[in-house]
Amino acid sequence: MDILTQTQQYLAFAWWLALCLSVLIYVALDGADLGAGIFSLFVRDEDERGAIMSAMAGTWDANETWLMVAGGILFGTFPFIYGSTFSYLLVPLALALWGIMSRAIALEFRHLADGRHKAVADLAFGLGSLVTTFFGAMAIGAVLQGFALTNTPGEVPTYVGGAFSFITPFSIWVGVASVVAVLMGGLLFVRARFEHGEAIRVQAARWTNPLFFLALAAVSITLIWTGTIFPWAHARWFGSSTWIFGLLLIATLFCVFKSRRASQKDHDLAAVLWFDATAVVMGVALMATMYPWIVPNTWTIYSGASPSISLVTFTLTMGGFIPVIIAYNVYQIWVFRDRVSKFAAYSHH
């Protein structure tokens, strides 16, 4: 449905950048929270699990709002994509949403709970993080595969293909690989948020080494698999702009190397930042690979965009609100930057 004016095409492109930015910020910020949550499944001491939650108490909901922003942009600017893709993804999104709900309940209520309820909250937190990561990533894998649309004149093309077409070996693998990569991010987050010498930090440090190689393998397999089964990826990577992707690969490896070195030297914040940089570079590489598709072989930026987008609405949002939001996000992270210790177990005061 190429019905946009020239200006609207530029706007759709700009909105797409904003959408990708929100998703990337979400992955970088909440990915660490999710990873720490998965890690908490393997932490035996109850107070230590509580401390993991308290380490994200001040920021997790602000992090999650980036997911909301991505959803808002998708619905507002790319409604044709939003309406068809989400009905394609009913099952994995429902599961991810239940994970998000359990995690939220656990984070909100744990500090009020006692004894047995605390153990339930911890399990809900850990499993919720795991389920959200796995099915959220599986949904992204399913998006990369694309889906069939209806073709009825006078109607917007939509999805009618049933509940389970999202399940493929590739989408399952993306789920598994993401759990490993996110867990790696969670370990770095735990190391950065806890005092040196805390038992939980020691455990996270011990795990970092094997997880690093596991994550590296998982991501490499995903890349090779992507290049093998998707012609659009293969054509972009090995076409006329191979050098760009070569540079992006080098940048990725450089960030991985820096993150590794920083974590070996106990430069925890640097390790987290380089890890996030890796995610961002790979995200940008994925954007460059997929362009102009948002859902490969299904919707492009331009066929999926709302015909009612305008310069006024874009400017109001981007110029007026996003900078303000980013400013107080930064201020907030600054206010709550102190490291925590196990004894400051989750408390909401």
Partner: protein, 481 residues
């Protein structure tokens, strides 16, 4: 059209109705309580009266539990439009999705950002900065009512769009945003949030007064709540009447369903002006099986005249008629609660005027306090029934007069519909019982009266606060559970 009641339509409707009904429990309290917290904090800054600070911090703890539940259930809402109403989302997205996107960015994110500062910022940021954060939380939450009700009222009275090539193209943004129904629906919902929150504060306070705990503190909260309710309750009844007038003009079918009004004219040719207090539709769906009726009352209520005709369902084509039983009864429950709350406000005012709400004597008004505790629950039921009236009364339309519900739902199998519903029954109920249980735990523990005020001594660090909590909580634990 027989397809209106097919399972393929009913399941997505039921799925969406369930998650919406279980989400609307939380935002009204977030919105109204944020304004109340701002008021209390501002009074504390102005008067330096410690009681305002203690009240503010106590109700803030309840606010946090409620807000968390709102977020937990709210993320689902944003995704659910695309999942359950995919074709509607595609068609209406150019307007509807954009408006919800504004809600996310200008209200939800705005609120969440300042909320972190409000909750965790005590003692870490300056008093004025903190008050500013609270103010922004209150403002942002009111903005969210604006956007949500704007999107919904556009579905009730779609304006400023044309339906072409399978989607709504916006031709006039101002007309679409300022659609006719918005002007009554937005204030009605905003005031509903205030009314619910004032009743909530009053009910919690009344519970303490019944238990003779912290009487001085909660006598003040109760007194101010009753005063606020005395203003809010009549305003809400007035606004409710305005919404009714509006529905009569914009959606006569919905009004006729709400009133169980089947015939515009009686067999003798006179206008049918009877208002049914209670009724039940007959099996043919073309009249009431029985009804208790007051003559002329319908014309008086809906047109503010003695005899003017009111459109009955027989003037609406059969395929465009909404169901009757639910709108009819849910409307009556909502309106009845609105009236009851006004009576409670008048009762409280009379007690106050005769000096019986003073610190010394307030706790002896047992029956009044019990009625106030009950009034803490009633607005929730009013919000539910009000929304059911509004959404079911609009059926079979999704976007009134332009898009039918059957044209907007996703293509879902029965499995998907049931899978969604069962899962969300479990998780939404977990959130509901969890939040109610922990609200009760906080109320039973009572306000913290020992923590030093910010600025006087240092705010305890997290470690000290936790230690303090453990010391005080341990002996009390048996009575808590």
């Amino acid at each position: 059209m027989s397809s209106e009641n097919d399972l393929s339509n009913l399941l997505p409707r039921l799925d969406f109705a369930w998650i919406t009904t279980l989400h609307i429990v939380y935002p009204p309290l977030t919105i109204g309580l944020a304004v109340i917290l701002f008021y209390a904090e501002w009074r504390w800054m102005r008067t330096n009266d410690e009681k305002w600070y203690r009240l503010c911090r106590f109700f803030e703890r309840l606010f946090i539990v409620n807000f968390g539940a709102g977020v937990a259930t709210g993320v689902t809402m944003e995704m659910a439009f695309g999942i359950l109403y995919g074709r509607f989302s595609q068609a209406a997205g150019p307007f509807f999705g954009q408006v919800l996107g504004y809600e996310t960015i200008t209200a939800f994110m705005y609120e969440a950002g300042f909320l972190g500062l409000m909750v965790f910022g005590w003692g870490k940021i300056g008093k004025r900065m903190h008050l500013f954060a609270t103010f922004n939380v209150a403002l942002a939450s009111c903005l969210s009512v604006f956007w949500i009700l704007d999107a919904n009222s556009w579905m009730q009275s779609p304006n400023g769009v044309v339906f072409r090539n399978g989607y709504f193209q916006v031709t006039n943004w101002v007309a679409a945003i300022l659609n006719p129904n918005f002007f009554t629906a937005f204030p009605h919902m905003l005031i509903a949030c205030f009314e619910l929150s004032v009743c909530f504060v009053a009910a919690v306070s009344a519970w303490y007064l019944l238990k003779q705990r912290h009487v001085e503190l909660f006598q003040r909260a109760l007194k101010y709540s009753v005063g606020a309710l005395l203003v809010i309750a009549p305003v809400q009844i007035y606004l409710g009447d305005a919404v009714g007038q509006d529905v009569g003009k914009l959606q006569p079918a919905s009004l006729a369903a709400m009133e169980g009004h089947y015939h515009t004219t009686l067999p003798d040719g006179q206008s049918n002006t009877g208002w049914h207090i209670l009724a039940w539709p007959n099996s043919g769906g073309d009249g009431n099986a029985w009804a208790i009726t007051i003559p002329h009352a319908l014309s008086v209520i809906e047109t503010h005249t003695w005899n003017a005709p009111v459109t009955g369902l027989d003037d609406i084509p059969a395929q465009d008629r909404p169901p009757v039983a639910i709108p009819f009864y849910s409307f009556r429950v909502m309106a009845g609660i609105g009236g009851f709350l006004l009576l409670v406000a008048l009762w409280g005012t009379w007690l106050a005027a005769t000096g019986r709400l003073s610190v010394r004597s307030v706790a002896s008004n047992k029956w009044f306090l019990r009625a106030v505790v009950l009034s803490g629950f009633l607005p929730y039921i009013a919000v539910w029934t009000g929304w059911w009236t509004r959404e079911i009364g609009r059926q079979p339309w999704l976007v009134y007069g332009m898009m039918r519900t059957s044209e907007g739902v996703s293509h879902m199998s029965v499995f998907e519909g049931v899978f969604w519903l069962l899962g969300f029954v479990v998780f939404e109920l977990a959130v509901l019982t969890g939040s109610f249980y922990y609200l009760c735990v906080i109320v039973k523990r009572g306000p913290d009266l020992t923590r030093p005020l910010p600025g006087e001594e240092h705010e305890p660090t997290e470690v000290e606060a936790e230690a303090l909590l453990r010391r005080t909580a341990t002996p009390a634990a048996p009575q808590l559970v």
